[in-house]
Symmetry: C2
Subunit: 578 residues, 2 copies
């Protein structure tokens, strides 16, 4: 029946030939123009923050690559209701006449996409997306001043032709003043400046935390100025362009790379194009593949490349090069968070670099700050927690709530937290183990920085990290490690508080009991008091010993958990390889 | 100081000219090849489901456009560990020789992107993304058989050249057999077939719920077959290509459209290109703009177009055309959920179409199913809820958990729920108001279908809807409306249970009390019993009256809340316009 069934007789069946008349091709600019939300350019507040994000990360990247200590000024001016002008000025290398148009007026053009190098930007979309938004909402091009220090600085205006994804440059003028760096001034409608968790000021605060070598000045629409001075005076050493690590490489990548190599033999091709390929590793491959490694790499078949990948998976390689990745570093994170968050206790964990599928090295840095000004202030200060009402010991000040600061290559992520691997990792941890009963209402700042030569964002808007297995694993291990340290501190603090409370209660009742005992036994009241005090101290000492034992047991369990995690990981890896 | 500060003397500052050597342009295919996770092609299980999703939505769209009752067969075969072959065959219009390559082998090409028409696909990326994934993971092209019913069916193989984003076609053969429709056979590595909430079978089950006119057959790797028969035999009437509604149009859109219009005057341009533009509306615009509407639309300046947009915002337009959108319909949703979810109570709410920024009409359908098989089965069946332990009345079976089924243009969304407007809307509702104390553990299936000529997805992977203000508002109103109805049912049920329990308790003790009273008063025990029963009934009647009053009050409050929501909405709209 179904095969022959057709629409009601009145409606004509429409043919493929007719439908094909509607077939069209579109440019990537048209695509993103219609889907601005995919670039994070949606919502009045989010849009403004995303714009600041795109310009500031470009400035930081440019300074880092050119070896300049960044000095960035961000100004937001209100021109009308929902109508703002944003100016971002840096002291970076500037852009040349040849590149400035593409950098700000063509999507998928730039220096970052094809290089395996740890940078904040990696797509060549962000700033051009802002140009498109400015043009769509105000009809105005973006104004740019660029000085490279070589020729005279130029002032020009840039817009995009979305049909062909090409920049249009106008009003190009050479300037007779000194300027080195890049200044972008753009206008936007349908945005809104506020002071909130997700607004530009908070974005810049977090940028400052993760980039202590940067000096950032922010001028708000009400002309109030905030300065984030640098707390470190050395430029982070330059990230290195990396080669893919054999462990994560796919067959397709080998084929792609082999087509563009200068090597004449597969052996030299493997040695030059991949990280950690020594003579020993080559020898092992040579022995185990069905073809001669002297073969021209351009002639490698899919099956042959697959043999190589299978060997890569079996072999033991040294972990990926760490010198290409640039963690912020435990010291700097410590200093930065101590000065900005001022917590009571702080632990920092830096994991060793790992590789996720595609051969991309990455590394995780986690810090957990507890107490003090850690966490967010809670508006509902008066709403006391149940624990307090119940009179149970509570080491948490109820007016603080947890704050998770997510970073990718040192750039803060403020939106789409629900879809982000970092949030998922935080939520997957059993925090009760570490003495944190109610994570939501704990005075914690959890700082997580993921660095990689290629961050797997879930969207071109670069606000959430995809939950790749290897990344989730590392995030979890780092969080557990840092959590463990915090847990030990919290349990110590809690024990101390309980002990103090008990002591106080006991001491409070000693005079009364002594008085009563004196009435009953006629013993000397002072003597009774002293004896009772001795008794209390003895009892507390015994309890302490018992607690020490419990503590040891907890630590043992933690150690076991740690070992089990490792085993589980190894097992997973082993399964992966099969 | 800062201006002059430089990197350590050893490191040379690098110039813009040197950096510019790394400047390159990339194709959209290269971009997505490196960012497969943005297409939803990440994770072993998710990837497989996304592939099925891309092919099946294309089949459904093609059948709908060609006016054919869809008959779709999906087969997944396991070829090795993590290695699968997926075949999707439909009875649709097929693809022509000219379009087949672009449809499956070029990103951003297709019939959907530029048309304002309610379709499941809208980007021209999905199926080509799958071709790219097949090629990356297996080195194999995708095999296709297409029959348009006009010429002989063809068999061919398609792959993509990512450097230039162009299809490569090979092994094209004309077939000497009858076939009308499209069959795609593709192989993938690094994927995994499971039976879970997020796997192909559940995806197809939900597709069947939202597309009761489709017949879908699924053959799993273990050869087990699942048939979803059609419960409706009429093709949903054809979605109409729509014009943008003036309320959501931006200045940029007016300018863009004006450059391609055939109209010679701005007045006729406005009338032909926009929805709901009558002579009266035109007259109002004519009176209030500073220029002559006889002006050539190609000459419209930004400021003039802005005047038009300002008028659009001020004027009262009829709501957008509803005949272009194709809701599933209350009856069909009811029938579909009754048959598949078998709930105890079901309410369906279809809101009127609205417009979100950009002039895109959209519409929300919500259904809440309560009790019966609604919700998900909970693995921890033995873990009883606290309410039960406390002996409090509990109308919820503790072993069910809430299930939220999200759909966009009838296509199920299984991933990225955290970042989706539908989830956010569900979470933003105060469900306690509707008698649902613990949403997570309620036996509810919440069905939400958002339809639009352009769904604002957060990512090219099309798994989450961006939380545009107007969409959030409509989702919330629909959920509250449906929640209200469910709440009345639940409170009725709960009252009935409590009454029953009271009656039972009272009746249980009547004989004992009668016996005791007889001992005390010597009154006839039977008479006492009868009097006591009368007393109990009277008491219950009075309670019932009091409850009725409370119920009325609740409904009044709900009515007020409803009105306040409306007021709030109007206020927001008024603010928006200023």
């Amino acid at each position: 029946m179904a095969e022959k069934q057709k629409a009601s007789a009145i409606e004509k069946v429409i043919s493929a030939e007719e439908i094909s008349k509607e077939f069209k091709e579109h440019s990537v600019a048209e695509f993103f123009k219609k889907n601005m939300q995919m670039l994070g350019l949606t919502g009045k507040i989010k849009t403004l923050t995303t714009i600041v994000h795109e310009y500031v990360t470009n400035s930081l990247d440019a300074c880092e690559e050119a070896r300049i200590l960044p000095d960035i000024e961000v100004q937001i001016e209100e021109l009308g209701d929902g109508y703002y002008e944003i100016t971002v000025k840096d002291n970076g290398p500037g852009l040349t006449k040849e590149t400035v148009g593409k950098a700000l007026g063509q999507l998928l053009a730039g220096t970052k996409f094809h290089r395996m190098m740890q940078m904040r930007g990696q797509q060549g979309i962000g700033a051009s997306g802002c140009t498109m938004l400015s043009q769509i909402t105000t009809g105005k091009p973006v104004k740019v001043i660029t000085g490279t220090g070589k020729n005279k600085p130029m002032s020009l205006e840039i817009s995009i032709d979305p049909k062909i994804n090409q920049p249009k440059i106008s009003n190009l003028v050479e300037l007779n003043k000194e300027f080195k760096g890049l200044a972008v001034k753009a206008r936007f409608k349908g945005v809104k400046y506020v002071k909130s968790e997700q607004a530009p000021l908070e974005y810049l605060r977090r940028t400052a935390i993760a980039n202590p070598h940067a000096k950032i000045k922010f001028i708000a629409p009400d002309k109030s100025t905030t300065n984030f001075d640098r707390s470190a005076k050395d430029i982070p050493s330059k990230p290195v362009e990396m080669k893919p690590h054999p462990k994560g490489v796919t067959v397709d990548e080998i084929i792609s790379l082999s087509r563009y190599t200068d090597s004449r033999q597969t052996s030299s091709f493997l040695k030059t194009e991949f990280d950690r390929m020594g003579d020993k590793a080559l020898e092992e491959i040579r022995k185990n593949v069905s073809f001669d490694l002297r073969k021209d790499p351009k002639q490698l078949s899919w099956d042959e490349a697959e043999e190589i990948v299978k060997m890569f998976k079996k072999m033991n390689f040294i972990a990926p090069r760490t010198d290409g990745l640039r963690p912020i570093g435990e010291d700097r994170i410590n200093k930065s968070l101590q000065s900005i968050v001022q917590p009571e206790y702080l632990s920092v964990v830096t994991r060793r670099p790992q590789v996720y599928s595609g051969g991309f090295p990455f590394q995780v840095e986690v810090s957990i700050a507890f107490g003090g000004n850690a966490g967010r202030g809670n508006e509902e200060q008066n709403q006391k927690t149940k624990e307090q009402e119940g009179g149970e010991t509570n080491v948490f000040e109820p007016e603080r709530k947890i704050e998770v600061m997510r970073f990718a290559n040192r750039a803060p992520l403020l939106f789409d937290s629900g879809g982000c691997a970092i949030t998922k990792a935080v939520q997957s941890i059993d925090w009760k183990r570490y003495g944190i009963k109610d994570l939501e209402n704990a005075p914690l700042t959890i700082f997580v920085n993921l660095i990689s030569v290629h961050i797997p964002y879930t969207s071109a808007g670069k606000q959430a990290i995809s939950d790749e297995e290897e990344i989730m694993e590392e995030l979890r291990l780092a969080l557990m490690d840092s959590g463990r340290k915090t847990g030990i501190y919290i349990s110590g603090k809690k024990r101390e508080q309980e002990k103090q409370m008990k002591r106080e209660i006991f001491y409070k009742y000693i005079p009364e009991i002594a008085f009563a005992l004196n009435k009953l036994t006629k013993e000397n009241e002072g003597k009774l008091r002293k004896n009772l005090e001795k008794l209390v101290l003895e009892k507390l000492r015994l309890e302490e010993e018992a607690e020490e034992k419990v503590k040891e047991e907890i630590e043992e369990t933690m150690e076991k958990t740690k070992k089990n995690e490792k085993k589980r990981k190894k097992k997973t890896e082993a399964e992966e390889e099969n």
